[in-house]
């Protein structure tokens, strides 16, 4: 089947914002650090630079906040952290995603089983 790279890319784009929120769940991070962390997760980010416009949007939507902090080396850094609204959005998504993932897995498993039976 030609699921299409475009479709997968589309899905990835839709999920990436939650990936960003998840990366900030336990700790605040500065941009470079956040991008490195996301980039280390296989297949999540294609161009690291695209995360910055995304962060900007999440900030405008009030899901993440920023704070400037002095750095031990070099200029001050802009740290990102989750806002209460961001935490709620992430919790909602985590619940929905788990449910969706299980449903899709069930369907895929069913598909595999019926094909085996044929």
């Amino acid at each position: 089947m030609v699921a299409g790279d475009a479709q997968v890319a589309q899905m990835r784009r839709g999920l990436l914002p939650y990936g960003v929120l998840a990366m900030l769940r336990d700790t605040e991070r500065y941009g470079f650090e956040l991008v490195q962390a996301l980039g280390s997760v296989d297949g999540m980010v294609t161009g690291q630079g695209t995360i910055y416009p995304l962060l900007s949007r999440l900030r405008r939507q009030g899901l993440v906040g920023t704070t400037w902090r002095e750095s031990t080396a070099g200029p001050p850094r802009r740290y990102y952290q989750l806002t209460p609204a961001g935490r709620t959005a992430l919790a909602d998504f985590t619940r929905d995603w788990t449910q969706l993932r299980d449903s899709v897995d069930t369907l895929l498993a069913h598909d595999r089983r019926t094909r085996h039976e044929r």
Binding site: Q10, R13, G14, P17, Y18, Y30, G31, F32, V35, G39, T46, G47, Q48, G49, T50, Y52, P53, L54, L55, S56, R57, L58, Q61, G62, L63, A73, G74, P75, R77, R78, A85, T88, A89
Partner: protein, 202 residues
């Protein structure tokens, strides 16, 4: 030195790709990418070329969260009517103005720009130039212009270069603004990338 050039070149490409973004957002994006590059260089873990490759094509970065769309009929009409609509009993310009302000494809700074450069478009320019010419002609025929003063001498007492400047300032901005409005209106927010609803403000 070579790395400095690489980084500068990358940022220059990004600045160009992002020129149709709202100014504050563009500024922020350029700052962040510059910070990213500085951090990566300071850590020295990977060669700069690799860092830039990982960041991706500047065009892709600038296109994140927005997509290119053809202009709607109303936007096309607005862009045509603003410079030229003034010749349709001036009302054409007003219609263009209403379309400009009603369209969600432009933000208010662009709307203001489209309104002010120039009011009534080329019709306004024409009336302005005519009025100026009449004033000059009137001055020339005035009492302080004596015997030796002929109407052809200096084109209304104004140096030729200044006339040229005024003509360029009158004729060029409406075209530039129209082009700018088209460039801006081509980009719209990508709805498929807006899965997270706006937080409820209470």
């Amino acid at each position: 030195m070579r790395d400095d050039q690489l980084a500068a070149d990358y940022l220059r490409r990004l600045r160009r790709a992002a020129r149709t973004m709202p100014r504050a957002r563009r500024r922020e994006l350029l700052d962040e990418i510059a910070e990213h590059i500085a951090e990566a260089r300071a850590s020295g873990a990977v060669p700069l070329q690799r860092v830039l490759d990982d960041l991706g094509d500047p065009k892709d970065i600038a296109a994140t969260g927005r997509v290119r769309r053809r202009l709607g009929v109303r936007e096309v009409a607005a862009v045509i009517l603003l410079p030229l609509g003034g010749f349709i009993f001036l009302a054409g310009w007003l219609v263009g103005l209403i379309l400009l302000w009603a369209s969600p494809r432009w933000r208010w700074p662009d709307k203001l720009l489209g309104t002010l450069v120039w009011p009534f478009g080329y019709a306004g320019v024409l009336y302005g130039l005519l009025a100026g010419a009449f004033t000059n002609a009137a001055n020339n025929s005035g009492s302080f212009c004596g015997y030796g003063c002929t109407s052809t001498s200096q084109g209304g007492g104004m140096p030729t270069w200044l006339e040229g400047v005024i003509l360029v300032a009158a004729l060029v901005p409406p075209i530039l603004v129209a082009i700018w409005l088209v460039l801006r209106a081509r980009w719209v927010p990508d709805q498929t990338e807006q899965p997270i609803p706006e937080p409820v403000r209470t």
